[in-house]
């Protein structure tokens, strides 16, 4: 048997040994110290992005970054595009409507096409769980998962962790309530794994129809009543409820959902007085979150999440291309 004891603190590693992954596909692949390394690197970019009017750092100059989005996205695509451009990469966006990429050979063929264009890093979003890993298998360059089905959205979890760390100082003992449509949420799956790995106490709060079975295995304690789930929480992370799930399929109506699971000011008062409010966006105001809470100047970290998104993606793009760029210790 190989030695599988996991060190509690960051081991004394440098260079590629710090992050020995070719792709970033799932939080499940990462060790706690690898997550912390990504956060530390992103912290540097967050400061640089805030401090300088001219944000260019051209370490990826001459490299081609393809953002292949097989599912609609505005903010994630924009965030990856800005991150790539700030690092000096030539960023190309490919939008493939769901209709044009229904057949799998087409998906593999698309991957081969992207590969043949000599991309240096590919960012992929796809509506099907596991699709990004399937493509990653077929290409020669690093692949970043920008969301695959209900499975994973690792950069979202990392940017959420960075936001929490900046606001709360750390994770140990922190109570984080992830509330809403946990069943269909890749954001929730990535966040549960990430926050549990970092030492937080994670709660999954959802109506039974939107709670995945055996969610405990992802490191979260399930709650079906919002008020119980919010009790004493340091962070309240709301999830988006998709329109098509609102009308009787999983919940009776948006207004009933808002009554039972919407984050209102009154409900937020059940959490700790300084509890942080987060949402991956885009929000359904008046459904899962009320505007007063979403726009709360001290409590809401929603715009900061967007800001940290760029920093996290810069860190990921930088780290994953270090080997190809021949950075010392990474080649």
């Amino acid at each position: 048997m190989p030695d599988i004891t996991v060190p509690s603190a960051s081991p004394d590693l440098t260079g590629r040994a710090l992050f020995p992954h070719r792709h970033l596909l799932s939080i499940a692949d990462l060790k706690p110290w690898e997550i912390r390394f990504l956060l530390d690197e992103a912290e540097h970019w967050a400061r640089a992005n805030r401090g300088n009017a001219r944000k260019h750092d051209d370490r990826l100059a001459g490299m081609t970054q393809i953002n292949a989005f097989f599912e609609n996205s505005t903010r994630t695509l924009l965030s990856f595009e800005i991150a790539g451009k700030r690092l000096g990469a030539d960023v190309v966006n490919m939008h493939a409507g769901q209709s044009s990429v229904k057949k799998g050979e087409t998906l593999i063929d698309t991957a081969m096409t992207l590969n043949a264009m000599a991309a240096d890093v590919i960012v992929i979003r796809h509506a099907s769980s596991g699709a990004v890993a399937l493509i990653a298998d077929k290409v020669d360059c690093p692949v970043l998962n920008a969301g695959d089905g209900w499975h994973q959205h690792p950069t979202q979890a990392l940017l959420d962790a960075l936001t929490i760390r900046r606001r709360k100082g750390g994770f140990e003992g922190l109570i984080v309530a992830i509330c809403g449509d946990v069943l269909h949420s890749r954001v929730a799956r990535s966040n549960m794994l990430c926050l549990a790995a970092l030492g937080a106490q994670v709660r999954a709060v959802a109506p039974p129809t939107l709670m995945p079975p055996e969610v405990e295995m992802l490191g979260a304690t399930p709650f079906h009543r919002m008020d119980e789930g919010l009790e004493g929480a340091d962070v309240v992370m709301m999830l988006r409820l998709q329109n098509e799930r609102m009308d009787g399929a999983f919940i009776p109506s948006p207004r009933e959902y808002h009554m039972l699971y919407g984050l209102t000011q009154e409900r937020l008062a059940i959490a700790k007085p300084d509890a942080l409010v987060m949402h991956p966006g885009p929000m359904n105001r008046g459904v899962e979150i009320s505007s007063v809470v979403a726009d709360h100047p001290e409590r809401s970290a929603i715009t900061e999440q967007v800001e940290m998104g760029v920093a996290i993606r810069m860190a990921c793009l930088d780290i994953l291309t270090r080997q190809a760029r021949g950075v010392e210790g990474w080649a």
Partner: protein, 407 residues
């Protein structure tokens, strides 16, 4: 008439309790006699020393007529599922299907219970029976409308045909591609609870009770499903069930890493249900082991998990994997041949799967310990979509006789 005498082999007679010594005497395409009998002067002697002689396998419920794979696996007859590019819902298609394998392989088509397998109008079951259909089937899905299902059972029963059904409640199963549980949650896959199976079985048993029809649940894979089947058998209903080796030797964690070769219908179950399936084979609840052979190429399998087609190429590994049940002490080799050959032949009403006089001379010579390694790259099947890739197994059919003629 051509006379053959198979001598020196160990006989795995499905009707027997243990392996026996003896002679199998064949005249033409039929078995003339078996057992401790004198070898006639004019019979050609065939030495089966060191091998087990058994009836050729009768595979109850395959999706393709894939002769090389069947022959590799010692399968001499198969019941073809009605789920073809044109559903087998019409006499002409049935007749065509019966001819597809002859002479060295026999296909017994299963007639679609409803037109286009749509689950609404009865198909021309009687005409299809006349054209060679040996059973009636609901195909890959159940019939949602209980009224339609009751009429299918009643009508088929009048014709003396067994109804082969898919045990998954469609409403619960929906678009699920995995069983609810840790693996589905981790991978973010659409899932349905395992009780979708027992729900369907419970309904169909009640309909079998009121109609008096014979019903065969092609794949039963959960402990709750087997409990219902056990109770129905104890009551004396004409209920039987099958399973394929995948559900006996794999659990739902086999789909980790989105392995589409392990995407099956019904989906793989929990480890507890896997163990319950083994127990159901051991206690006699399971009547049939089928390959559920469904070869699928990369265009169907090299896809994101939920978009891939379900099914596995199982014909080549059916015998070797099933022999694990004998090695592990769950069943005798004779009982295994009942599951692989005798019972399927009875359900289809064909004169095979037996050593009795007059039975078809479909025989295989098995080397039960021969080791080999499953290799999806080198399979005889039309496609190598096996979740057992790289697995070492034991047991090969060394020779196959179909209708008194060695292949």
């Amino acid at each position: 008439m051509n006379k053959l005498a198979i001598i020196n082999g160990k006989l795995a007679d499905p009707a027997g309790q243990s392996l026996g010594n003896g002679v199998v005497l064949i005249e033409g395409d039929r078995i003339a006699a078996t057992g401790d009998i004198p070898v006639p002067e004019d019979a050609q002697r065939i030495d089966a020393a060191g091998l087990v002689v058994a009836p050729g396998l009768v595979d109850l419920g395959v999706f393709a007529t894939d002769k090389p794979a069947f022959h590799f696996g010692g399968i001499t007859r198969a019941a073809l599922m009605p789920d073809q590019s044109l559903p087998l819902d019409e006499a002409g298609l049935i007749r065509q299907a019966t001819r597809a394998g002859k002479p060295d392989f026999w296909v017994h088509p299963i007639a679609a219970a409803t037109r286009g397998l749509k689950g609404t109008e009865l198909a021309e079951i009687g005409m299809m029976q006349a054209a060679g259909a040996r059973a009636v089937g609901t195909g890959r899905q159940w019939i949602a409308d209980s009224g339609v299902m009751m009429r299918v059972l009643a009508y088929a029963s009048g014709l003396g045909l067994t109804v082969i059904t898919h045990a998954e409640d469609g409403g619960l199963a929906g678009k699920a591609v995995a069983t609810s549980g840790e693996t589905a949650t981790r991978l973010g896959l659409p899932h349905a609870p395992a009780c979708a199976e027992a729900m369907a079985i419970a309904r169909d048993i009640m309909l079998a009770r009121v109609t008096g029809a014979a019903i065969h649940f092609r794949l039963v894979t959960t402990g709750a499903g087997f409990d219902l089947i056990r109770a129905a058998k104890a009551e004396g209903l004409k209920v039987s069930c099958g399973i394929s080796p995948a559900y006996l030797f794999l659990a739902d964690n086999a789909v980790t890493d989105f392995r589409t070769f392990a995407r099956l219908s019904p989906p793989l179950r929990s480890e507890d249900d896997r163990k319950a399936s083994i127990a159901a084979v051991a206690d006699g609840t399971v009547d049939v082991i089928t390959s559920s052979h469904d070869p699928r190429g990369p265009e169907d399998k090299r896809l994101p998990f939920a978009d891939a087609s379900p099914g596995m190429a199982g014909a080549e590994t059916l015998l070797a994997l099933s022999l694990n049940l004998v090695r592990d002490g769950h069943v005798s080799l004779n009982r295994l041949m009942t599951l692989l050959s005798g019972n399927p032949a009875k359900i289809l009403g064909v004169n095979a799967g037996s050593f009795a006089s007059g039975s078809a001379a479909d025989l295989i010579f098995i080397d039960p310990d021969a080791p080999w390694i499953v290799d999806s790259e080198k399979m005889a099947a039309q496609a190598g979509n096996t979740p057992f890739d790289r697995m070492p197994v034991q047991g090969r059919a060394r020779r196959i006789m179909k209708g008194g003629v060695f292949l």
